[in-house]
């Protein structure tokens, strides 16, 4: 293990393991002296689900995964790759891209250096969600380290695998509350031979209907993303096939269709990332209910940007300008409308006391039981899932 970084200003000890074994050692070493552990990758999701303030320093040490990188096993012919969890997704894409393959997953944070482990722990997603889901659907094996130093594997290196429980799913969306994700095995897909995007200008209220027609016409877009007032439709496949499918969109939707601009996909990413001062929310709805739910949010007077994975009902909304109270109103309305299906990706524009999460899912009792079993001594403070895991604030 490389030398520990010197303690930060707040007295936080940062641990920099380079292997799963070193993660285990770090946790064992700190069990008595620094029991409460936070996990952090490259910090691209620092803003995600940040709890309402004021926030005490709730951890004694941080396991930073920035040195926990590298490819463990990659056989291009098998189309699977095992990597250490601190490896940035962008690096993985570059490596497999050299062999004509990719991870079919495109979250906006990837460009900022987000790590595979961090992306899994936050259950992030991008426009590829439409056809491929998110990382949860692409991880076929995982190695995690629990608070007591237990190193546990589930899954393996093959796509088809039902032996044992799938711990990767459990850790997906766990925000570092169950343990440290140390290694991940990914399923890969071939890079498409050709790709093309067209744009259909739409009123947001019609986005779902229009998207439905494209899907119903059997054109199988790989992404169907509303970007403010344009529906971006991407096709992957053979050059002739892609061209013909792109041409077929106009007839399917009975509207004029434009070529997409290079900047269109960048705009989608920018909406998700936001800028300092912004509030960014991600909401989940029944796909057909998306337009109505979004339209009912009290966003009047705010500068908004919206990107929706239309047929999945996942919407990313960026709020800018206006007062913190106005932002808080939107958040409150979102919680009222979609309950637990609202993640705060950035809270700069919200007042400090705005809650990061709405009402918990119905299964929250199970969630707490799982937390209790995986982390009985509370080494991983509930932190960003505290409102659900630890509403009374018993175990910080």
């Amino acid at each position: 293990m490389t030398a520990l970084a010197s303690p930060s200003e707040a007295g936080l000890r940062v641990l920099l393991p380079t292997t799963a074994g070193e993660v285990r050692d770090a946790l064992l070493d700190t069990a008595g002296s620094r029991p409460r552990i936070g996990v952090r990758g490259t910090g691209t999701a620092d803003a995600w689900a940040t709890p309402a303030g004021p926030v005490d320093v709730e951890v004694d040490a941080e396991v930073a995964t920035t040195e926990l990188r590298g490819v463990l096993r990659y056989n291009p012919a098998d189309m699977t790759m095992a990597v250490r969890a601190g490896t940035p997704l962008a690096e993985v894409q570059e490596e497999v891209g050299r062999h004509g393959q990719r991870v079919a997953f495109d979250p906006a944070r990837a460009a900022l250096g987000a790590t595979v482990g961090g992306l899994l722990a936050t259950a992030d997603g991008g426009p590829a969600r439409h056809a491929q889901g998110t990382l949860r659907d692409l991880v076929i094996g995982v190695t995690v380290v629990l608070g007591d130093g237990t190193v546990a594997r589930s899954g393996g290196h093959v796509i088809k695998n039902v032996a044992g429980y799938d711990l990767a799913k459990l850790f997906s969306g766990s925000f570092g509350t169950l343990g440290v994700v140390a290694e991940v095995v990914l399923r890969l897909h071939p890079l498409p031979r050709a790709s093309a995007t067209v744009a259909v200008p739409v009123e947001p209220a019609q986005a779902h209907d229009v998207g439905d027609r494209i899907v119903g016409a059997g054109l199988e877009p790989s992404a169907l993303e509303l970007c403010d007032d344009r529906l971006l439709v991407r096709f992957d496949g053979t050059p002739e096939g892609v061209a013909r499918r792109a041409k077929a969109v106009a007839a399917a939707v009975e509207r004029p269709v434009q070529e997409a601009a290079d900047t269109d996909w960048a705009t989608v990413a920018a909406t998700a990332l936001g800028e300092p001062g912004d509030t960014v929310l991600r909401l989940g709805t029944l796909p057909s209910a998306g337009p109505g739910t979004l339209a009912a949010l009290p966003t009047a007077g705010l500068d908004t940007a919206l990107s929706s994975t239309v047929m999945s009902g996942v919407h990313t909304l960026r709020l800018r300008g206006g007062s913190p109270a106005a932002h808080a109103e939107v958040l409150r309305a979102a919680h009222a409308a979609v309950g637990p299906a609202c993640t705060v990706l950035r809270r700069d524009g919200l007042p400090a006391d705005a809650p990061a999460w709405g009402p918990p899912p119905r299964s929250v009792a199970v969630l707490r039981a799982v937390k209790q079993r995986f982390d009985p001594t509370g080494r991983f403070p509930a932190a960003r899932l505290a409102p659900w895991l630890d509403p009374e604030g018993v175990r910080a």
Partner: protein
């Protein structure tokens, strides 16, 4: 004590929902894996989710273990009863509750068969993608428990990719819902971890499934080869060319012999290997891909290629493939079917090694498998009456463990259940298994929900992992190392 349980069960599901006659109880003593049989104390058949919850509560209150059962077609003994325990059959929860074509989802009860979902939504041009070979009889509840795949999972994934949410009765009788109304994650993916948990974490009472529109074009191709190696090389080439077929299946000589005896699907008898490749998607893409696939087949020496888009012909091809397991009953009095997975690049090696193991054991093995993802289904043929049972069982688990040794998995689809529990230590370390058990403990601290499945108990599996016969006390959940 048992009579108190009985009256609690009668209260829960009504008197016509409780079976306790010896002939009835014996009828439920095994599922599709007949090598293991245990007689339960009661079988209950609730008609509603509330009745399921009441039945589970009754069991929990009396500390009696229970096992949920769908159509009983599982191949790993996942529905094997616990001695003196209760079997909860979900076969009377069979309604299609709601179809939402606009959002492409449907809400169904767990006893609905996989194929019936597709039939029900077909008028809307939709279907349910996971298609296990037993889909005309297996239930969606069972599919959720096993994370079932099927021939088309190469492109379309497994049950876990096609379920939005499930209503579950937890092992203490509390109902809950896993998964949300939307596709956005709501904290840790409990639903994803539940799917494939083999009935050990609770009983499903409702499933909200994801539906897909039927692809615009489908083409199916069957190519004969002189050797399994050539067929396997072809598959590697197809995947390497960046094509993702909807399905790639292979059958060897013995399997084809059985299939043709059963259904006359039109496969070439005597050929070393038959490759089935199905491509689907937009018409433009399918046409191009089909031509490429055919070229690759010829490049690798195919001796005959037929291709068809005709629904009736396609149905015949698939009927043959899907009937393969049961059809083997025509060329052998008994058989075990295995479900190991190997990395696709080691497929040929695995088949060669299986052939060697079979020769050593003096038994025949027919091979049917999902060539696209390396999931093998070796069918170990034997004659019980000739005393070949133990030899066959040993060969069967050797094959499963071979797959692990080649970097794969014990099970791609059928689950661990009873059959492969003892082999789990070959694939996972003790820490791995102990960590998984934490999840089980979170759901089922009392250990009443399908105990004795999935995890080995070293005391009973013996030093050498082998065929697993649950000790009655262990089956009753009274002894187990958790």
């Amino acid at each position: 004590m048992l009579s108190q349980l009985r009256s609690a069960l009668v209260d829960a599901v009504g008197v016509d929902g409780v079976l306790d006659e010896p002939s009835a109880l014996r009828s439920y003593e095994c599922d599709g894996l007949t090598g293991y049989r245990v007689t339960p104390a009661y079988v209950v058949l609730p008609r509603t989710a509330a009745a399921v919850a009441a039945a589970v509560t009754a069991c929990a209150r009396h500390g009696v273990p229970f096992v949920a059962r769908g159509a009983g077609t599982g191949l790993s003994g996942g529905a094997l009863p616990v001695a003196d325990g209760v079997v909860i059959s979900l076969q009377r929860l069979r309604r299609i509750v709601e179809i939402d074509p606009v959002n492409r989802r449907a809400v169904v009860e767990p006893g609905v068969t996989n194929l019936d979902i597709t039939k029900a939504v077909a008028p809307h041009g939709l279907y349910f993608a996971p298609d296990p070979s037993s889909q005309q009889v297996c239930t969606i509840g069972g599919n959720v428990a096993e994370n079932s795949g099927g021939a088309h999972c190469l492109k379309y994934g497994f049950t876990v990719h096609h379920v939005h949410s499930v209503d579950v009765v937890l092992p203490d009788g509390t109902p809950t819902t896993l998964g949300g109304e939307s596709e956005l994650a709501e904290g840790p993916d409990l639903l994803g971890a539940f799917i494939g948990s083999e009935g050990t974490l609770g009983v499903v009472t409702s499933v909200t499934v994801k539906l897909l529109p039927r692809p615009a074009a489908v083409q199916t191709l069957v190519a004969d080869f002189d050797s399994v190696e050539a067929a396997g090389a072809t598959v590697t080439a197809i995947i390497g060319a960046g094509i993702v077929p909807a399905a790639v299946e292979m059958m060897d000589t013995l399997a084809i012999e059985a299939v043709e005896a059963a259904v006359e699907a039109g496969y070439t008898k005597g050929v070393a290997a038959a490759l089935i490749v199905e491509l689907d998607g937009p018409a433009e893409e399918v046409a191009t891909q089909l031509a490429e696939v055919e070229t690759l087949c010829r490049d690798h020496g195919t001796t005959a290629v037929t291709r068809t888009a005709d629904p009736a012909e396609r149905a015949r091809i698939w009927k043959g493939r899907k009937a393969a397991f049961a059809a083997v009953g025509r060329i052998s009095p008994n058989y075990f079917v295995q479900d190991g997975v190997v990395p696709r690049t080691r497929l040929t090696e695995a088949l060669t090694r299986i052939g060697e193991l079979a020769d050593e054991a003096g038994l025949r093995v027919a091979n049917v498998f999902h060539a696209g993802d390396g999931n093998l289904h070796p069918l170990v043929l034997y004659n019980e009456a000739a005393g070949e049972h133990d030899r066959a069982e040993h060969l069967s688990s050797s094959i499963a463990e071979l797959c692990v040794d080649l970097g794969g998995s014990l099970s791609g689809e059928h689950g661990i259940g009873t059959d492969k529990a003892c082999s789990m230590t070959r694939q996972y370390g003790q820490d791995d298994l102990d960590t998984m058990k934490r999840l089980r403990a979170a759901y089922d601290p009392a250990g009443v929900c399908n105990p004795g499945k999935l995890f080995p108990t070293p005391r009973l599996c013996g030093e050498r992992p082998g065929p697993y016969h649950p000790h009655p006390l262990e089956s009753a959940g009274l002894i187990e190392r958790m």
